[in-house]
Symmetry: C2
């Protein structure tokens, strides 16, 4: 199998980190979003949405959603478990992963894609057709990012990790969201002490540097 990705892209980092936690390696190929390599015919033939990361299995099957790629690797290498052991834990981890993805990652992406010059007229990820950047969406993305910081800090005041008492995929998504937020110059404030405590703990994991 082969993983098409981009070293600095947030979604690609989620998958690389997940693989590193499992001690797995796969063949990779870099696809440069800034120069639009992902929208050229060669790559659109692999992934019509022009998204990375994309995993192509040996039989040609294409899996192009980060969480679905992680789910595949979890099934191949169940340990260490990152998606849950029983019905309740699987549902809770999935739920936190999605909350962080929609309320956090998507909010940062909204501000980023609508303000970064390289994405002028490419403001909707996964849509190769021209889409203009909209100023009100930058403001909205920032407001939602601040709400996410507050929500995450509250959660980490109740719980050691995002989805409970151990490290899971929800922590990977949350951590990557925070590092992505630096690209739009947003960081949790002094009032978000729980986030800072958790961020230090998670940073100490070797796989966080994958």
């Amino acid at each position: 199998m082969k993983l098409y990705e981009l070293e600095k892209a947030p979604n690609a980092r989620r998958v690389r980190w997940f693989l590193a936690e499992k001690g797995m390696t796969v063949e990779t190929q870099q696809i440069d979003l800034a120069s639009g390599e992902n929208l050229k015919p060669e790559y659109l033939a692999i992934n019509p949405r022009g998204l990375i990361p994309t995993l192509v299995l040996d039989d040609g099957t294409v899996i192009d959603e980060s969480v679905s790629i992680c789910r595949y690797f979890e099934e191949l290498h169940p340990e260490p478990n990152l998606l849950g052991q029983d019905a309740k834990e699987k549902a809770l981890i999935d739920c936190w992963q999605r909350r962080v993805e929609f309320d956090g990652l998507a909010s940062v992406a909204l501000a980023f894609r609508n303000s970064t010059p390289v994405f002028a007229n490419r403001s909707v990820a996964g849509c190769p057709e021209p889409t203009e950047q909209l100023a009100p969406l930058v403001e909205r993305g920032l407001m939602l990012t601040h709400r996410f910081f507050d929500m995450l800090d509250k959660r980490l005041g109740e719980s050691d990790y995002v989805a409970g008492d151990r490290f899971t995929i929800a922590d990977i998504t949350a951590f990557v969201t925070l590092t992505f937020a630096r690209w739009i110059k947003e960081t949790p404030g002094e009032q978000h002490a729980h986030i800072h405590r958790w961020f230090e703990t998670v940073s100490a994991r070797p796989a966080s540097r994958a």
Copy 2:
């Protein structure tokens, strides 16, 4: 356990349909979005994002993402299988479910939330703070909905069902997206023959009326 939902809401329908395929029933309570019951303190105490559906387990655990609720029920009642049997099938179904959710359901929701009078100043689902409706997002939501119809038709020309050769959660999300699209007066065209063939097949399932 108890499921907070709203009979006519698209996301609630996804969960009801999933339960019906499994032959399961759970206690439910209706939460009226139109009158803002979901943003009143009583409901925000259960779900701070004010979203439905929300499943509350007997121990108080809250699961408030539709797909995560379905994942919980799949683990409790594995048959009939709707989320996949092995690594590859689980990843593919998850991937198609997410493609349909992000490219289809979210696109219809974008146009709907930014144009429907009852959601004036509540245009972002899951955000109880005021958010004005933006006209360019209606146009964008419609453009993305049309792209989704084309993508879905292409897929259903290659495959009997959305994720492969059998009915799965990805079909539920796609079908509910199409019925939701009628609310913004959008339907697949005559050129989308594969969608119409599949829609008829899926409509014949008793659980589609749940």
